[in-house]
Symmetry: D2
Subunit: 351 residues, 4 copies
């Protein structure tokens, strides 16, 4: 359940309430030098910034327990631990919070402790980002680069095409927007929801450049299929679309088909397919968008049920929550994409 990958295997563990979260990354090549600077940058990318996220503070220092010595991999499984400093001190509850995993978790496992989200907590995305950073470093020498950015927050966003360089620019802005103007607007959207004790959703877009034509599998091992599975593993994701995505459903084939021409080999004139046809790369940048719902934790009053007495109640979720998860989710989308891509690259002999 907590695993990804076929040849490079990723295993996640931990919960928000325990002392640590962490992961194992298996089958990373022997002798790889891991840049701890890059790792720190990626971990920082996931942290709330400039007051638009949760005030909960976590160092997110990654401790290598096994598999890495003096920053170099030794070919054995890599065990990473990240300490939980700021553990939720709320009390045990029998009232499921709307929009959370609480209800099914409480029904499925009696006495399930949902404080802080338990094993569903976004806190577990920290080790995902750590593993993704290593995966990105594995891919870079093969010319494969991965970057995500915030495409929209609530109704704020545009439809401009963005390439991998634009995506990297977004690191400069707290909202991970691609421009200062959008960053301002998105920040306002988030702060406005926050002030009302509410939250807001948004879209993360991810770009992968440098994949060779033919990269990926077919049918149920299609590159888009394995990516979709990994992306839906991220909490709060409610949709994914590649290239033109749902917009393609309103098009004619003569509009949507990416036609080919000769240009340093063969190249598509457009990228409506988002770089993937028949489950494999067509040589264009891989582009997909991921829909994140609004953070379910809000202080506004909501209806729920006290399961211990089966009575209607109202609740409001106090505490330190991100009013919009999207800016932090950018790092997580990048990470799962990197893990899937590196695993596929090993299968295909690219790395």
């Amino acid at each position: 359940m907590y695993s990804l990958g076929s040849r490079m295997r990723f295993h996640l563990f931990g919960k928000s309430h325990g002392p640590h979260v962490g992961c194992i990354l298996e089958n990373v090549p022997l002798g790889m030098n891991i840049s701890m600077d890059e790792l720190k940058k990626d971990m920082d990318l996931r942290k709330p910034k400039d007051g638009i996220g949760t005030p909960r503070k976590e160092d997110d220092d990654v401790e290598f327990i096994s598999g890495v010595k003096d920053n170099v991999t030794d070919g054995t499984p890599i065990l990473m631990l990240i300490r939980n400093k700021n553990v939720d001190s709320s009390k045990y509850t029998s009232i499921p919070r709307p929009g959370h995993a609480d209800l099914p978790a409480m029904i499925k496992w009696k006495d399930h402790d949902v404080r802080g989200g338990g094993q569903f907590s976004g806190r577990l995305t920290a080790p995902i980002v750590a593993a993704g950073s290593i995966a990105k470093q594995m891919l870079l020498p093969a010319g494969v680069r991965i970057a995500a950015f915030t495409r929209s927050v609530g109704s704020v966003g545009d439809d401009d095409a963005r390439n991998i360089n634009d995506a990297f620019v977004s690191r400069e802005y707290a909202t991970r927007a691609c421009s200062a103007g959008l960053d301002d607007l998105m920040r306002n959207e988030i702060m406005s929801a926050s002030k009302e004790g509410d939250s807001i959703g948004g879209i993360v877009e991810c770009v992968v450049s440098g994949l060779p034509i033919g990269f990926g599998g077919i049918w149920f091992n299609s590159l888009d299929a394995v990516l979709a599975k990994a992306v839906f593993g991220i909490p709060a994701v409610k949709g994914i679309e590649f290239g033109g995505g749902f917009g393609l459903t309103k098009m004619k084939g003569s509009e949507s088909n990416d036609q080919y021409q000769i240009e340093n080999g063969i190249k598509a004139l457009t990228n409506n397919m988002g770089g993937v046809v028949g489950g494999m790369s067509d040589g264009m940048p891989l582009v997909f968008r991921t829909a994140f719902k609004p953070t379910p934790s809000i202080s506004k009053e909501q209806r729920s049920v006290d399961l211990s007495v089966m009575k209607d109640v109202t609740i409001s979720t106090e505490g330190r929550h991100d009013p919009c998860i999207v800016p932090r989710a950018v790092a997580v989308v990048e990470a799962v994409t990197a893990i899937v891509t590196a695993d596929t690259a090993i299968c295909e002999g690219l790395i």
Copy 2:
């Protein structure tokens, strides 16, 4: 690559150009009586109807080679064969068709024969539908029902909420729309594209009722994650969203959260989550939408490249193509959903 499932395993094989397509379905319980009537209905659901699909005629009779005797499973792997009667007689080509898997397939496997789509052909969805029919029959005694319908074709469609019964009604209409009015409009949209030598996309919506609260896994085994992987295995899929999906990204948490009340146990007041939170069922109907791109085969002229001489060329794809794949894809979306759900149901001890 050609497989789905963890405990009930599905293995696909064949290509459009060979004598057969088919599949193996492993670990179906011993002694199950398979309704051949239901199977035929499901196979018919995938056939083009009333002149809005390809004129290619296939009987799609399912031959049980192993694992079933006198319509009863014997507990061993079920091998099903479906004959290809109407094999493509086009000539070998070195020109990739835009929007198809041709380009990556030709580059990855030299001399790859793309006639009729090869192993990427929609023809392989026939055995998927056959296996899905058995999966649906496995689920029915547990009270789980699955039905899909056409939500939109091009710009034609509405936003009305539809339940499982509405979805079943769509079987009456050739476009698999939920009403006679929509069926007419969609048919016009398809015929109009067809007359221009063009094609059109659309959206399939799928509903699963009867899942118990807590059904599904977490993280990378989330119910939505494994469904997304299976759905992206279907050719021409470019997006998937659960419940409010991409629409949720513009909402506030106070709007999107499904609040709970007591009503025959506990029940959500809305279904923005599409029946899944934290990767598990919340007891509401599972609802998701799948974006299908326009059929890439069109007779309109398009630019491509002749790979054998690396020269720019133009092509038009003559032949017998569905101008809109959506009405036939309804059966396929149902089928992969059934396969994934039955496999999960076995893992969870539901069946």
Copy 3:
């Protein structure tokens, strides 16, 4: 359950009582020319010969339903069917035969039909041999050769070291012994048991030459571990040992260790390890022995229980049985070894 392999996947199906047995072999490289002569030789190797096996006659013609055209693989899953001509016509019974899978099968699945062995039947080893033949043909260009022979039947056999060429010589003899002398003795042993209405066990030894140093995995993916799993999948196997095997347990380390010297690179002076240390090839021929119990079907009277009335009874198994399965098992041991080795070779980039 019916599958082997991680990248080259093998899926088995069928039962002795149905019209066919067969298998799927997935991920065999595109464009490989399959020698049907070699395939026929391998299928013949599994047939009873010169009156020392069952009089049941089967052609064992392999029909390629999918994945192969004009003897050349097309890169899609290969489906092979083998017809059962000579189906068991015995009556349904509620009395488990000693030494067979009958008892657990009858208890686990009520009304389980054990005639002819059902899905446990040695008949299913025919498609294993077919897949193994393709695997051997995949390995040959990489210099990897696989051959097995009969090491002993009952008490007849010797302890002489045998190399891959000796193993190939055994094809000339009906018992698959390595010499005419042993063949005579083994034949007598088998005929003597047969005349008494009894059966006899024996040992199959298998040799793999040409594996590069380092070939294989570690811990639970050790080459010996994955081979052992595959070999115990063969009916009637009760033991496996590599190199000196159980004999090593009586040795001192100074006797058992294979010391190294320079000889065209590095080479071990002995092969007590059977070519595998730490789960990987040490460059010496891989050598292992497999223990086959006597065929459980005998016409001598035995005690059993009629499960329908829970009464003690005696039975004798009439019919066409091999008094010794070992000569035919040689082909099967070779085949599973080839499947595992080819899969590992793909994982390691050797083929």
Copy 4:
């Protein structure tokens, strides 16, 4: 590579030379109370005792980093760490030790550091024993008990049948023999080898009682097949046999077949099959023997090659080695058996 299990997953990590070894055990049921006393007993069972093993001292305290709180499982993956206190301080070498994994490891991964056995070290069996202890505790309430003992050391041993209670008695003796008399003889055998700077092999026998008839899979998921794979994952294992094993190869079917009678249900009169037919339990105790080669590390001089200069050399392995690994391997065989059995029990709904 480092994993076992299909539904209860086990992932191993670490090396002898690093600060820790450990493992993850995934899908242990929520709310299980882990007896730390039992865990300590199992860890102690693996420790050298009474001077017949290595003088290297390790506490082998198991630290639960995640998944267990106040000795109770929380349903998330269990991460266990065991500190390496006594790290090998030998120097880097380019001379492979005979009988070790050194040669293939050095050739496969250049600059591979083989000190202390690296990732092949028996040190990694400590977390296997820890996970096995939890697995045994999972099985006990279902009436399934597992115990192993030393069947032989060198030429010392007998052929008496031993049941599960005899096996438990062996815990009293340092050699894990089943009687004081055998313990004395085996101890002498070990000390005699030790004094010569040599080592000695032996056989571990394992008994599992309480498995219901039908427990296990078929073909490549046979109970014996999955056990064999796990057992060959243990370093130094060179053979495995179930029940009569290799001895069955010299028998007639009328001798080897376990006949049935009515006795509290149905029961076999003998247990030549070792409790498994057709891959499933026949209700008799599961019994198998595992061959361990002599410890490869000996101080006697041996021939090898210095790979850095490709010259013949002689070496002797100084240091703290077990002259016979068998007494300590008893705990490890028990552990992998428990992990495989618990995983199968989950798949079959037994626990």
